[in-house]
């Protein structure tokens, strides 16, 4: 197959960055059949890599069980979380994994169409992806009667986003695909039952889908050998910030923060933001924590801050992001984020009381509980964790609240 020629394999890693031959995943999947695919997937323990960590096998099973004449597989390549750029690497260097994951997904749940929702800023990848799809069609891996299978036809189209962070949220993504404002929907009903155009839809992250061909080929048992009990397999981490070797790394789940910092050659590290702007910020004392769904969960974003950074400024930067990127439809997030930002400004100006700050932490709790989607539910994370973990720096050096003696 001529595709092999244009491939540049420079990376190595235990799962995703390991050897793979184009088309083998799909071939094996068609041999296995739906039941066995789902079995291997379930056995592998694969969970969503987009952030929420929902078991992929369950998602596929639910939509597979939904009765409908039309179903969709959507690949979420909106990659908008600040500090994440691992999906881009997969799309540029390992597109066969992503597309084959979609094809296998389509086969498993009974979808004939797949859509790749590509982040607007990645438009420059579009051409190479389109070319790749064309080659897949030539190789009979895409289109009618895939690999000669009478009962399986599948097509993939690529759609571009327009730069809203919230459109990475799966239901906002679907609204956007349908041509509406990118606003998250009410749940339930979930996309697996009522998704794109009202049909059962599986939305998976690029990396989740890219893991599938490897699992199908080598088995769930093999996949499970990597990682921890609750976080099986490996993970791509996009590391940025104060380190000598920023970039995308494939490491097994269960790697500790300290180990990761060593790999990327970070020095004088003061804090690590795990999970992007919507994640949590860990101080030195917690660098022994491990990356995984059971401890420090992340969709892949790791931002390193060294001693020279002002954590209040870091926090302010995150909050400004949310004030702007909230879709604005629900109260806790639309107004809550601006209140948190105002509080940061008050702290900067040393014009606050601790009871006021505590009120706002409680507000943050309400936002986590009552916001409509993951954006508002996680935007207070950095506020709460930075004010808690760096209180000495923020309140100690800087003095005290005006009315606080």
């Amino acid at each position: 197959m001529e595709l092999e020629k244009i491939k540049k394999k420079m990376r190595s890693g235990p799962v995703l960055f390991s050897e793979y031959k184009l088309g083998e995943g799909v071939k094996k999947a068609l041999q296995l059949g739906r039941e066995n695919i789902l079995f291997e997937l379930k056995d592998s323990g694969l969970k969503g890599r987009g952030g929420a960590g929902f078991p992929t096998a369950t998602k596929w099973m639910l939509s597979g069980a939904s009765l409908s004449d039309k179903k969709f597989i959507v690949c979420n390549a909106d990659e908008g979380e600040p500090g994440t750029f691992k999906d881009r690497v997969l799309l540029l260097e390992y597109p066969e994994l992503v597309f084959e994951g979609m094809i296998i997904g389509g086969y498993t749940i009974g979808a004939k169409e797949g859509i790749l929702y590509l982040r607007g800023e990645y438009e420059y990848i579009l051409k190479s992806l389109e070319d790749f799809l064309e080659m897949l069609r030539k190789d009979k891996l895409l289109g009618n009667n895939i690999l000669g299978n009478e009962n399986f036809s599948f097509n993939i189209t690529i759609r571009l986003g327009s730069g809203a962070y919230v459109c990475g949220e799966e239901t906002a993504l679907i609204e956007s695909l349908e041509g509406y404002r990118g606003e998250p929907r009410n749940r339930p009903p979930y996309p697996v039952n009522t998704g794109y155009l009202g049909h059962p839809t599986v939305v998976n992250n690029v990396e989740t889908l890219a893991s599938v061909p490897h699992i199908i080929l080598k088995g769930g048992e093999w996949f499970k050998k990597h990682g921890t009990d609750k976080s099986t397999g490996s993970k791509l981490f996009s590391v940025s910030g104060d380190c000598d070797k920023p970039g995308v790394y494939e490491l097994p789940w269960g790697t500790s923060i300290a180990e990761l910092l060593k790999v990327v050659e970070a020095k004088n590290t003061k804090a690590v933001q795990v999970g992007g702007a919507s994640g949590i910020c860990l101080p030195k004392s917690q660098f022994n924590r491990v990356l995984g769904y059971e401890d420090a969960a992340t969709g892949g974003s790791i931002i390193v801050f060294n001693e020279s950074r002002n954590m209040l400024k870091v926090l302010k930067n995150f909050m400004e992001f949310f004030v702007e990127e909230s879709c604005g439809q629900c109260t806790p997030c639309r107004i809550g984020n601006i209140k948190l930002l105002e509080a940061i400004e008050k702290i900067e100006n040393n014009d606050f009381t601790f009871s006021y700050i505590n009120n706002l932490k409680e507000l943050g709790r309400t936002m986590q509980l009552a916001s409509k989607c993951g954006l508002g539910q996680s935007s207070p994370n950095s506020f709460i964790s930075i004010l808690e973990n760096f209180k000495d720096e923020i309140f100690g050096l800087n003095g005290k609240g005006k009315n606080n003696g």
Partner: protein, 625 residues
């Protein structure tokens, strides 16, 4: 019978409309849930909110409205659902499995209070200088949750300019809570699509296309958005100050005409249950306020039937006898100014199908400043005409440049039911206790046919009563003159009557099946217009369209709140009152006969009536420059 498919409702919200089984004992059709300590059984797909309402458990709401699809955006209705990580919104959560719900835990109460505090922190306005004071859902929430301070501060200056551009609707986004009820009303319910959320994040606000003034976009002035706004962010353009000034001016002769629907609803403004008419009481109150004459718009409703009916017969004759291909049939009614503006914007190429007859309000204005002025010997320049209407669009209509046929502005002010109630209160009058009185001459009490104009199908029913009788010489073949197919709230109704044994003059209609269609709400009007486009109305003769759901009784100037149930009660009030009236056919209104004898001497659709009672329309189109 015509299925209304609303494609715009986001599918996630459509999906909540689970067809609930009628038979609750049906296996699999129900699910048992536990709400607080109580175990209940509900049909599958019932929302938590519905389940609570059925069981007298109060859940606060703000963005929820019974007329509209679910939004789930305000988050005030959150409850705890066991095993779920976050709180869930009761209004949007369909019960599909046995769940345990808690509606008033500390977590729930705290979250609700936070949400209310957040809304208040951004709400620029003071209740005591606000027209929704005492009838505001935000104020109610603040009261319910005992808000006594601004936990998260309070805005000190307005963020948005008030949009006063429209003659009908005033938008003050400083009081907006972004519940998007207006958006859902305009897009999903009315299918006009003027309002949408604009911008993102904290800058999100409800706006028009490119944030243009409301007067410059395709708003049809129906005011339905006002009726569903929980706060004072939307209100009608209120002329009551000018009206007070006119009343206080001894030189001015101030007359008021009152439409049928406000009478059937104004009681609600005085704490009365919906469904009771206050016609006689209102007449007295208006005189006490200082109006010099109180007239019944139903008089010109009867006149409309004569004019529009004659126009229809002329069109039919041209089509059937003269075989004139250019005649446009079916003829559409033109008494709803919201509908008129809708067709001007969205179907301008079909304007010739509209009857040229003015609405009853405008006919009245033109007659008051001509016929009445002459009869009473008053200089029309000294007459101020006010129209009490259930409608916001009537404010726009009376300001149309075409409406100066008397040589003056035919109707000076359109006043809504809500604004009238305010004036009555201001005058220190408690309406329900007023003694009853009659309407003034020379227009007197009108026929019941005019009265039912207030409900969807009313114009059709009134027209049929008259047309059938003129054509055949016999009463319509319906018991008690109640033409059942015209009644009820189905979106698009179709029916027909066969014309047999016609009188000599109308022999050309012998054997014709007179077909008619009735639609209310512009979403249904759109269906009808698409049917017309597709040739599905080729054999239909007459179409009634009202821009507002339910007809005028659901108009944009009517008391707030509104719901299908309230509208149904108002309709009942109208039909009940109608049944008691001595005259129930427009052509039997002796005041109308008198007018044609004395003033419009060349008869319906004659020269003078064409000058005063008919109008023309503007091809507006939907593209905005």
């Amino acid at each position: 019978m015509v299925k209304r498919e609303n494609e715009r409702i986001p599918v996630s919200q459509q999906a909540h409309v689970v067809d609930k089984p009628k038979d609750l004992t049906n296996i699999g059709g129900t699910v048992s849930v536990q709400i607080n300590e109580k175990k209940i059984t509900v049909p599958l797909g019932t929302t938590i909110l519905e389940a609570c309402q059925l069981n007298q458990i109060h859940i606060p709401t703000l963005c929820h409205h019974p007329d509209l699809c679910i939004a789930g955006v305000c988050r005030v209705c959150v409850v705890e659902v066991e095993k779920m990580r976050t709180l869930q919104t009761a209004c949007s959560f369909p019960i599909m499995s046995p769940i345990k719900i808690k509606t008033s835990t500390e977590m729930v109460r705290k979250a609700r209070r936070h949400i209310i505090d957040l809304l208040l922190s951004e709400h620029y306005g003071e209740c005591y200088s606000c027209f929704r004071n005492g009838n505001c859902e935000l104020q109610n929430l603040a009261k319910e949750y005992g808000v006594d301070n601004y936990t998260f501060g309070h805005v000190q200056s307005p963020r948005y300019e008030v949009d006063n551009s429209s003659a009908a609707v005033v938008r003050d986004m400083n009081k907006c809570v972004l519940c998007k009820r207006c958006v859902r009303t305009c897009i999903d319910f009315q299918e006009v699509g003027v309002l949408e959320a604009i911008d993102r994040g904290h800058d999100t606000h409800v706006g028009t296309f490119l944030d243009k003034p409301l007067a410059d976009v395709v708003c049809i002035n129906c005011g339905q958005c006002i009726n569903r706004c929980p706060t004072a962010a939307l209100r009608a353009n209120d002329p009551s100050d000018e009206i007070w000034t006119a009343i206080d001016d001894p030189k001015k002769h101030v007359v008021i005409q009152t439409a049928p629907s406000p009478r059937a609803a104004i009681g609600e403004e005085f704490g009365q249950e919906p469904g009771k008419s206050f016609t006689g009481e209102l007449n007295t109150a208006l005189r006490r306020i200082g109006f010099d004459r109180v007239f019944d718009t139903n008089f010109t409703a009867d006149l409309t039937i004569m004019e529009e009916g004659t126009e229809l017969l002329t069109r039919l004759k041209k089509a059937l006898v003269d075989k004139d291909q250019s005649v446009k049939l079916p003829q559409f009614t033109s008494c709803s100014p919201g509908w008129v503006k809708y067709i001007e914007h969205f179907y301008p190429e079909y304007l010739d199908y509209l009857s040229t007859a003015k609405s009853p309000q405008q006919m009245f204005g033109a007659l008051i400043k001509t016929f009445y002025a002459k009869e009473e010997n008053i200089d029309p320049a000294d007459i101020v005409t006010v129209a009490l209407m259930p409608c916001a669009a009537k404010k726009f209509e009376c300001n149309r440049p075409e409406m100066y046929d008397s040589g003056f502005k035919d109707v000076d002010y359109g006043l809504t039911t809500r604004e009238m109630a305010k004036m009555i209160r201001e005058a220190g009058i408690y309406l329900p206790e007023m003694p009853k009185s009659q309407f003034d001459d020379p227009f007197g009490d009108a026929s019941g046919a005019g009265l039912i104009f207030g409900a969807t199908g009313g114009v059709m029913e009134a027209a049929l009563r008259t047309a059938y009788e003129l054509i055949t010489g016999r009463e319509v073949p319906f018991e008690n003159l109640i033409i059942e197919p015209c009644r009820g709230f189905e979106g698009v109704k179709q029916a027909s009557v066969k014309l047999e044994n016609c009188v000599e003059q109308y022999k050309f209609l012998e054997g014709v099946e007179l077909k008619f269609v009735v639609a209310h709400g512009t979403a249904n009007a759109k269906i009808v217009m698409e049917m017309l486009k597709n040739g599905e109305l080729n054999d239909v003769h007459f179409v009634e369209v009202m821009a507002c759901p339910g007809g005028c009784l659901g108009g944009g100037g009517q008391p707030i709140p509104t719901s299908a149930e309230i509208r149904k009660k108002r309709a009942e009030a109208i039909y009940e009152e109608e049944a008691t009236l001595p005259i129930r056919k427009s052509h039997e209104n002796t005041h109308v006969t008198y007018l044609y004898e004395k003033f419009l001497t060349d008869g319906p659709c004659g020269k003078l009536s064409h000058k005063l009672l008919h109008t023309h329309y503007v091809k507006r189109g939907k593209y905005i420059s």
